[in-house]
């Protein structure tokens, strides 16, 4: 009996294995990165990729060149991830020019690329209507006749529910250099119960990163892309509010000394521990019981933290400090289209940032595990950063994390401006007043580089 598209997608996602692409990225490092190339010149899929993939997957069994496609998919872990941040930047630029529709269009692609990067980390390449995946023996297979968006949407739902895959997120995000997995395991140390298998799936669902992002927002994207922009009427752009929210998003992306995002990862940890507590005890994470829970975790971590760090983390994790939920997380719970059919680009943006955070963490870990270091890809990221205007001549002499100090100046300027202009709605007036700052606020590619290159 012929399988349905959904069945084929689920089979591919379930059986895909990252082994082959891990070998591929090491091969790329030895043979091509050192020559300043992302792929070999003889790689069949270097140009006219879709054409060759279609041709090679037409027969049954497929006759794909597995080494070349493995190399392609391996490289695409990084490229899809960075492109996702670039699409996000384009979306923010559009928004700052008062164009909600284009923003949503771009940011949808940021989300899509984030998921494509996540899939590539798992040995899955998304190619128009043919999608290649490698099994654990390193043999390629194909999901045919399924469009990109459908594959990504259905595939991601499946991926989120496969504990062995989605739980990797918790392995690769760290706070104080301790993985979220280890933080959560410290909660159940000695108890024998393992809530960890529930955290990620519920986490992704509660953020709305599955159907909400790719289902409803997919329709939303179509609304933005194909329908005349003024029908239905959209409210006036509130520039001050947008600038304020973007600044708040940036404050979560400050690079940490551990290769992640200092504030964002802390909030992810808090979120995960809240969830774990609810799963274990069936009550809200408040009061003495939750305090004891956090104390126990801090006492059971695999590495002892300095007392001061423990104390400050205790206060944070029990919401004695930073009580209010950040704008990024608040917006991520909103729909991209509200009840009045008004577009909410900040909601879509926030989810894109969170998805990209996951993709970035997985990609950084993928590179690190396979010995690909920042210097190996310098030929690529230096050029990308230059093209994006992140540095004047070269980024090679700069510690990328030091570039945060430029953002700090911008955020400080923006804060001053906002205090004097709390309700400025005119796009042109704002662009006149703080043009340089707006330009910097859109440069989310920088966050991508911080996160990918440790």
């Amino acid at each position: 009996m012929a399988s349905t598209p959904v069945q084929r997608i689920r089979k591919g996602i379930t059986h895909a294995s990252p082994q082959r692409v891990r070998v591929a990225i090491s091969e790329l490092k030895e043979r091509h990165f050192s020559q300043g190339k992302l792929l070999g010149y003889t790689n069949r899929y270097l140009t006219d990729t879709i054409k060759w993939v279609d041709k090679d997957t037409l027969p049954d069994p497929i006759c794909i060149k597995d080494k070349d496609i493995a190399h392609y998919i391996a490289t695409s872990t990084v490229l899809h991830c960075y492109d996702g941040w670039t699409f996000l930047s384009r979306g923010v630029e559009a928004l700052l020019n008062g164009d909600r529709h284009s923003c949503i269009h771009m940011v949808y692609y940021a989300q899509l690329r984030a998921v494509m990067s996540i899939f590539a980390n798992d040995g899955i390449g998304v190619f128009n209507r043919r999608h290649i995946w490698f099994n654990k023996l390193g043999t390629p297979d194909c999901v045919r006749s399924v469009g990109t968006h459908d594959f990504v949407r259905e595939g991601f739902v499946k991926w989120a529910r496969l504990k062995k895959k989605s739980n990797r997120i918790l392995d690769v995000i760290n706070v104080e250099s301790i993985s979220l997995t280890d933080w959560i395991l410290a909660a159940v140390h000695g108890s024998g119960t393992m809530p960890i298998t529930q955290v990620t799936e519920d986490w992704l669902e509660s953020w709305g990163m599955d159907l909400k992002v790719l289902g409803k927002d997919h329709k939303l994207r179509n609304l933005a892309s194909y329908r005349p922009q003024s029908i239905p009427d959209q409210p006036k752009i509130e520039m001050s509010s947008i600038v304020s929210s973007l600044s708040a998003f940036w404050s979560m992306l400050k690079p940490s000394q551990y290769g992640g995002f200092e504030m964002l990862d802390r909030y992810l940890l808090r979120n995960a521990l809240h969830h774990t507590f609810r799963t274990l005890y069936g009550t809200n994470p408040t009061g003495n019981n939750y305090d004891s829970f956090v104390r126990r975790i801090l006492g059971n971590l695999p590495r002892r933290l300095p007392t001061f760090i423990e104390d400050s983390l205790f206060d944070f994790l029990t919401s004695r400090t930073s009580v209010e939920e950040p704008v990024l997380f608040r917006e991520s719970k909103e729909l991209g289209l509200n009840a009045k059919r008004h577009l909410r680009p900040l909601a879509v943006l926030s989810r894109a940032i969170l998805l990209l955070r996951l993709a970035t963490a997985l990609t950084a870990d993928f590179l690190e595990e396979n010995t690909v270091q920042k210097g190996d890809l310098a030929f690529w990221w230096d050029a990308q950063g230059g093209n994006a205007g992140l540095w004047n001549i070269s980024g090679l002499d700069v510690d990328l994390n030091d570039l945060w100090s430029d953002l700090e100046l911008v955020l400080s300027d923006v804060e001053d401006w906002l205090s004097n202009n709390p309700a400025q709605d005119s796009v042109s007036v704002v662009k006149d007043m703080i043009p340089l700052q707006l330009w910097h606020l859109s440069k989310f590619q920088l966050a991508g580089l911080w996160g990918i290159l440790r």
Partner: protein, 513 residues
């Protein structure tokens, strides 16, 4: 060992204090009085595996009748140990891809298992899992008059077909190490394990022993290892490990930052923004850590300049400064105290202007009573910025790194117990005072006096000359880090102090400025 020998020599370890006679011993409660000694043997791993068993708690039967003390086996842990035996650390932690890579081929190290396995020899007739140990399957322990002992192995138990329900040895601690040696595995027969053997030790004492070995001990502060063996700071094999180098560099940077923040006589006392919160100070903990990791604690990167606390001081040798964490902290505090003293007394326009703009008394980062405090808390002061902090640390590290010999850094020796937790303030006081005995201290004071002449106002300082403000803008943002380092070195190179000038020029040349 040849199975025909059937005897294994060992030694007797007498351990019994007369106070122990008052311990509650009770045969009925499975805590009968143990022998006043135990024994040390060296036993091939393969044979130890064959002659012993690790009794897992059985789900059948009443729990109270279940005498087995051991816990579940974690197969992954034994596999990890097996990999360690084969290739040591960090080889055992590498992924398959990394192991195949030529980059890591030199990282194979010996996989010593030098910690003793703890085992108990069962007396014949002892009951386990509802069966008794048969005499023919027992190992006899013979104590000799010369203080040695012998294990007499019956030929029966060396046969391949021997596999009784109850074996003569049980493992109290070390099961995972032992299970790394599969019964029919391919490890060399000459791989022996040190084994501490008790004879007929009751179950309660076995559990007690297990607890005191595995549960009671505190977790170790891993960075302490780098003070016990400073040579670890420059080992390639640790650099290659994902966690090894981090443990020293990042953890040590964090510890030193915390000390700078918490030591009352430090100019940074409670002035580093440890929580990264708004209004909590202009220099955050994260940026201080990054600055330390980029300066004093960085590794040698060939050709340029390494970190005083993190690199060999000579590319041709493995000379590492044997300074402990306390000494490192003391050195940094001394540097900042010198800076603080010099900016507090310097007769310079920048200082006069910043004093006028000091924070109000009673505010969270109050200027305080010291003359120099204005420079460390003033939001218009570059000294209270990431760029300024990095610049000072870079320049002094660079100078000291190149001139370590003439500054007699190796001669600064301070003997004290290594403090694992918080360092006592009085201890730091003594260590800082002791710096005065070496040439480096006078040098640092003179450097600090020179650095006080730098223009430390940032471009936002009120009433600043527009031209000066424009010039100072190069110290803003990411470009500011390099510019400040360059500016400070150029200032020092133009000093009338010959030593400072000479060494600074050497640094400039090394850096290619």
């Amino acid at each position: 060992m040849s199975v025909k020998d059937l005897e294994l020599p060992g030694i007797v370890v007498k351990q019994w204090l007369k106070e122990w006679n008052s311990v509650n011993f009770s045969q009925d409660e499975l805590r009968k009085k143990p022998e006043p000694q135990f024994y040390l043997f060296s036993i091939p791993a393969k044979w130890l595996r064959k002659w012993s068993d690790i009794y897992r708690r059985q789900a059948v039967g009443k729990r109270s009748a279940d005498k087995a003390a051991q816990r579940q086996h974690i197969p992954g842990r034994s596999q990890e140990i097996k990999r360690f035996i084969r290739g040591g650390f960090p080889w055992s932690d590498l992924s398959d891809t990394q192991k195949r890579s030529s980059e890591f081929k030199d990282l194979r190290m010996p996989g010593w298992l030098s910690t003793a396995i703890i085992a108990n020899i069962l007396a014949p007739g002892t009951e386990r899992v509802n069966e008794q140990l048969a005499k023919k399957d027992s190992i006899e322990l013979k104590v000799l008059s010369d203080g040695t002992a012998k294990l007499l192995i019956p030929e029966e138990i060396t046969k391949g077909s021997w596999d009784p329900r109850v074996k003569p040895l049980e493992i109290i601690d070390g099961q995972h190490r032992l299970l790394a040696f599969e019964q029919n595995g391919d490890f060399d027969e000459s791989y022996e394990l040190p084994v501490v053997v008790f004879y007929d030790l009751d179950i309660t004492w076995q559990a007690y022993l297990f607890y005191t070995i595995n549960i009671k001990p505190k977790r170790i502060n891993a960075s302490l290892a780098y003070d016990l063996y400073p040579i670890l700071r420059t080992q390639d094999w640790l650099e290659a490990s994902p966690t090894g180098a981090y443990i020293y560099r990042e953890t040590r940077a964090q510890e030193l930052t915390e000390i700078l923040w918490s030591y009352p006589k430090s100019p940074w006392f409670q002035r580093i923004n440890m929580l990264g919160e708004p209004g909590g100070g202009t220099v955050t903990q994260a940026s201080f850590i990054r600055s330390l990791a980029a300066t004093f604690i960085k590794k040698w990167e060939g050709g340029k300049i390494g970190g005083l606390f993190g690199a060999s001081l000579d590319s041709n040798s493995t000379d590492v400064l044997l300074w402990s964490r306390s000494q490192q902290a003391a050195f940094l505090i001394f540097i900042w105290q010198s800076i603080s003293n010099s900016v507090g007394t310097v007769d310079a326009e920048w200082a006069e202007v910043l004093k006028k703009h000091r924070r109000k008394p009673g505010s969270r980062l109050d200027g305080g009573a010291k003359p120099s405090d204005f420079a460390f808390t003033n939001s218009f002061s570059l000294l209270a910025s990431d760029q300024g902090v990095r610049g000072i640390l870079q320049v002094i590290n660079d100078l000291c790194f190149l001139a370590y010999d003439e500054l007699e850094l190796f001669d600064w020796v301070f003997f004290s117990d290594l403090e694992e937790g918080e360092i006592e303030e009085s201890n730091l006081d003594r260590i800082i005072a002791s710096i005065r005995t070496v040439a480096a201290s006078d040098f640092i004071i003179r450097v600090a006096n020179e650095l006080a002449n730098f223009e430390w106002r940032n471009s936002s300082t009120p009433e600043m000359d527009p031209e000066l403000s424009k010039r100072q803008m190069i110290y803003r943002g990411s470009g500011g880090y390099k510019q400040i380092r360059k500016g400070l070195l150029e200032l020092l190179a133009s000093s009338s102090d010959e030593q400072i000038s000479r060494i600074s020029e050497e640094v400039i040349e090394k850096l290619g400025y």
